[in-house]
Symmetry: none
Subunit: 250 residues, 2 copies
Amino acid sequence: MSDQKSCSCQANLSNFAVVLCEPRYPENIGACARCCKNMGISRLIVIRPENPDWEKMSKLATHEAVDLLENMQTFDDLRTALAGFNYVVGTTARTGRQRRTTIRIKEVASDLAALSNNNQIAILFGSENWGLNNDAISLCHTVVTIPTSDFSSINLAQSVMVICYEIFTAMAANSVVASKLANTAELEGMYGHIKDFFAEIDFLNPENPDYWLLNTRRLFSRVRLTSLEVRVIRGFCRKALWKLKGASKK
Amino acid sequence: MSDQKSCSCQANLSNFAVVLCEPRYPENIGACARCCKNMGISRLIVIRPENPDWEKMSKLATHEAVDLLENMQTFDDLRTALAGFNYVVGTTARTGRQRRTTIRIKEVASDLAALSNNNQIAILFGSENWGLNNDAISLCHTVVTIPTSDFSSINLAQSVMVICYEIFTAMAANSVVASKLANTAELEGMYGHIKDFFAEIDFLNPENPDYWLLNTRRLFSRVRLTSLEVRVIRGFCRKALWKLKGASKK
C-alpha cells in the first residue's frame, strides 16, 4: 500500500579499514571486498596474502566492489600497516587461555562508531586456518568475537560481514519514521460500520451482542491501522451492506 | 597455549528453517549450510535448486556442516514446502514500488525469537539474480531487510549469515513465549474463503482481481492470526456467503 524508500543508509565509515592478516584464499579476499562495499567501508588492507590471484578475487568482489581491490594496500609487516591507526580491533573465535578477554561485537559496535568520529580504526581478521597470532593480538586495543552455536568456525568473509554490519548499523542508528495511524474517531466510525454489517448477516449473538465486536476490536488493535486502511475497510462494509440490502429487497 | 574454550552460546533455534528459493550456485548452498550450522539452525530447505552439485556444495559447507546438506529437503513447490510453518519471513534487498514495506532485521529479531517458542518459522531467501518473486512475497507474514550502504547487493550466504546471526543473538538474549499461530495451509484456506466472499459482493476489480486480496493478505499478516481466529473468520465468511446467496434467490 505504499511507496517505498530505498533501504540504503547513509553512514560515514571512512575512518574504518578492514585488515586481513595472511589470508589464504583469493576468493575470500574478493568476498571481503564485496562485504566492505555493502557496508560502506572503502579501505581494505592485506598482510602477506598467500595467493592474491586477480581473477579469483575480482570474481567474488563483483564488478561493484572491484575498486576496493584496485585500491587495496598490501604490506609485509602488520606494525607498518597499522602505524597510522588510532584504534585497533582484533577479531577472534578463540577465547582459550593465553588469549585476551573478548567482548561481543554487538556490545561495542556503537562505541566503535562513536570513536571513529575522531579516530582511524583498523579491524583485524586472522587467516582462515589460524586466526590472529599472539603478536597481532598484542597490537589490539580490544578483541571482539561473534557468538556462535557449537560450531564456531565462521568463514572469513562471513566474519567480516557480521562485524562490519554491526558497526554500520550502529553508525546508521538513525530515526525510523513510523507511519501515521488512524485516530480514535476514524476507528470508532469503522467499528460502527462493522457492527451494522455483523447485524445484517446475523453475526451478533443476541445474548451477548458485543462478543464478536470486542474480538474484532482486539484483532484490529494488533494491526495498527492507518487512516487509509480504515477508509478501505469502511468502503468494504458499505459495499457489502448495499449488496445485502439490495438483494433482500428483490 | 592450547586448550581453548569456544565462546559458543546456547540458544534453541530448532523451530527455524532457512528456505532457499531457486538458488543458482551450489557453492552458495554449501556456504548457507555452514552459516546455519554456525548459528544453530539445523533445517535447510531448497526450492528448485539450479545445480545442487554435491562436491561443490559440501566443499563450502565444510565437514562440520555437511549433515545439513545430507538432511536438506528439496521441493518443487514453495507452498508445499511452507505448509507446516506458522510464520514466514521474507528477505529482500529491493524496496521499489509494488513491494511490501520492509523492516530491518535488527528491529524484529527478538520478536522472531519469541515467536519461535511456539511456532515453526521459515526464513525465505530468493535467488541470487532476482530475489524473491511476488508470489513468494505474498506468502510472507513479514519482509525483512539488511540495511546497506549504496551497494545493496549482498551475497546470498552473507544475507543468510546476518539474518541468522541477528536471530541467534536475540534468542540467546531473551526467553519470551509467544502464542501459537495459524499455519500456512490454514491461512491459504481462509484466503480462498475471503476471495469467494469478495467475489460475491463484487469487491474484486475485474482488471486487477488480486488487488484487494493482496491488501487483505498484508493486513492479516500484520495481525498474526491464531488457528482459532482463522476458524472464526472462515465462519464469518460462510455466514455472509450463505446470507448473500440465500438473499439473491428470493
